[in-house]
Symmetry: C2
């Protein structure tokens, strides 16, 4: 897999999300250390407050969202970069009038998503 077009990669719905889809651009099976995924949150959609066992490195490609990280609120849009450490509660709400699309990279380690009362 030297090169692939990310638009041709199938998407799957994300559990616990409202209008959230995921495409795996570079999988943990293909790469030795970390995986690249693209998430799309439809207008009006979002991901509730949750934690993961692994950190996230994210890059916003399109749209606008309100993101809460460790209790702090941010409004993010294309070109913004997010670092969410492991075990830190975070959520996403699409506040724009188009899909909110971002890359999310994670290490090749066991992950568990745990919903948090927010």
């Amino acid at each position: 897999m030297p090169v692939r077009n990310s638009q041709n990669i199938p998407e799957t719905p994300v559990a616990n999300g409202v209008g959230v889809r995921k495409a795996v651009l570079i999988s943990a099976e293909e790469a030795p250390n970390f995986a690249m995924r693209r998430f799309t949150i439809e207008t009006g959609g979002g991901m509730p407050l949750h934690t993961n066992l692994v950190e996230h490195e994210q890059y916003v490609l399109r749209g606008r969202a309100r993101v809460r990280i460790a209790g702090e609120i941010f409004e993010v849009s294309a070109g913004d970069v997010l670092f969410i450490p492991a075990d830190v509660p975070h959520d996403y709400t699409n506040i724009g009038n188009e899909p909110f699309v971002f890359l999310c990279l994670v290490p090749n380690q066991k992950d568990v998503t745990t919903l948090v009362e927010g």
Copy 2:
């Protein structure tokens, strides 16, 4: 560093490149497993054939380039994803009429860039 705007991050010239600049979006000091960088290759610029000790996971944000990976030629543009394994010769030539801009993520491991006769 929960959130930062990638447009505000200083860029540095890349050794061996022609018209190539790098911005570190998430550094190896900030993240436990891998770093996120953004490379910009100006119109007419490029990176000569070289190898690295670490793999690259790349996402094209803007522009067009011809990329050679392990002897195979690809033309890439926005939305294309590249996986370049460690030790594989690769180069980049901007073939568009605007900057070629891409994210490049690497594991937090020692790297050496070695130019290769092409």
